[in-house]
C-alpha cells in the first residue's frame, strides 16, 4: 500500500516550535497537509448506500477536505450523493486525498473503514 505525504509550507512541521518557522512558510497561515493513499472496495456489494453513508459521516468528522477519485472523476468525500456517483463495485481501486490540518488522521480513519470492509460481514460495532 502506498502512502504519499506532502506538506505545503512546512516540510519539517513539528520540528519547529512556534516562532521558529522554516523559511518560506506563509506567516499566519496554517500549514496545509496533503496526504493520499489508495483504497480497495472490498465489500461484495460495492460502495453502496450504507458504506457511502458511513464514509461521509467519517469524512465529516475532520476539518480537512477529503476527496475520492477514480479514473473518471473526483468527488467530495463528505457527500453521500457524490460518493454514490462513483458506482464503485467490489474490487475497485480509489484514491483518497485529504487536505488540511488533520489530513493524516483523517486518512488513517478512512483507510481503516476500508480495511475493515465497513464491518459489512462481521458486525464489530
Amino acid at each position: 500500500m502506498t502512502v504519499a505525504v506532502a506538506t505545503h509550507g512546512g516540510e519539517r512541521r513539528g520540528r519547529h516550535p512556534l516562532g521558529a518557522r522554516p523559511e518560506g512558510e506563509g506567516s499566519g497561515s496554517m500549514s496545509e497537509q496533503v496526504v493520499s493513499r489508495e483504497v480497495v472496495v472490498g465489500m461484495r456489494q460495492g460502495l453502496h448506500a450504507r458504506p457511502a453513508d458511513l464514509l461521509a459521516r467519517e469524512a465529516r468528522k475532520w476539518q480537512s477536505r477529503i476527496e475520492f477519485s477514480n479514473a473518471a472523476q473526483r468527488v467530495d468525500g463528505k457527500s453521500i450523493l457524490e460518493l454514490l456517483t462513483l458506482a464503485a463495485e467490489a474490487g475497485t481501486r480509489l484514491v483518497v486525498e485529504a487536505t488540511g490540518p488533520d489530513a493524516r488522521e483523517a486518512l488513517d480513519a478512512i483507510g481503516s473503514l476500508f480495511d475493515s470492509n465497513f464491518n459489512e460481514q462481521p458486525d464489530e460495532s
Binding site: R44, Q45, G46, L47, H48, A49, R50, A52, D53, L54, A56, R57, R60, S79, I80, L81, E82, L84, T85, L86, A87, A88, E89, A90
Partner: protein, 158 residues
C-alpha cells in the same frame, strides 16, 4: 443505467400523504403493487425488509433525497418508483434535512451491480440542483415522468 430502466411509471406519485418513514415506504410499495411491479402478497415482506435496512442506517443521501431499498427474491429485475412529499418527512439524513424526494428500489439478491448503477444514476442526476427542485415541485406523476425522460435523454449513458 437510465431512470426508464427501473422506474415503473404507473407507480410514480407526486403527492404522498404519509408523514412517517414507514408510511412513505408503505405507500410507495403499495404503488408498485398497484402498477403490477410487485405481487400484493409480497407487500408486507418488502416493507419489512426495507425498514430493516433503514435500521442499519438512513438511506437519506442529502439534498432532501432518500433511496429506501431492499433486495427481494420475488423480483426478477430491479424495479423502483419515485414519490414526492411536499411537507417533507424526517428520515434521519446525514445533513438533517427532511426528505421530499424518494426513490424506492427493490432488486434481485444476485444483482448488486444493477443496484449500484441505479444509485449512481439517481445521485448523478440529482447533482443538478434545478432537476432536483423541478422534481420536488412537480404538479403530477406525468410531469415527474417527463422530467425523468428528459434527464435520461441528456444523461451520459453508463
Amino acid at each position: 443505467m437510465k431512470f426508464s430502466d427501473f422506474v415503473a411509471v404507473d407507480a410514480i406519485r407526486s403527492h404522498i400523504d404519509a408523514d412517517s418513514k414507514e408510511g412513505v415506504i408503505r405507500e410507495m410499495a403499495q404503488s408498485l403493487v398497484d402498477a403490477g411491479s410487485i405481487a400484493a402478497g409480497d407487500l408486507d415482506g418488502i416493507v419489512k425488509a426495507i425498514m430493516k435496512r433503514e435500521d442499519l442506517g438512513s438511506t437519506g443521501i442529502g439534498r432532501g433525497v432518500a433511496v429506501p431499498h431492499t433486495k427481494h427474491p420475488s423480483v426478477r429485475r430491479l424495479v423502483g418508483t419515485v414519490a414526492v412529499s411536499h411537507d417533507g418527512v424526517d428520515f434521519k439524513s446525514l445533513d438533517g434535512e427532511p426528505v421530499q424526494l424518494f426513490f424506492l428500489l427493490v432488486s434481485p439478491p444476485d444483482r448488486p451491480g444493477d443496484h449500484l448503477r441505479a444509485l449512481e444514476n439517481i445521485s448523478r442526476q440529482l447533482r443538478d440542483d434545478s432537476f432536483c427542485k423541478q422534481l420536488k415541485s412537480a404538479k403530477g406523476p406525468l410531469e415527474i415522468q417527463h422530467l425523468l425522460e428528459e434527464a435520461d435523454s441528456h444523461g451520459v449513458a453508463s
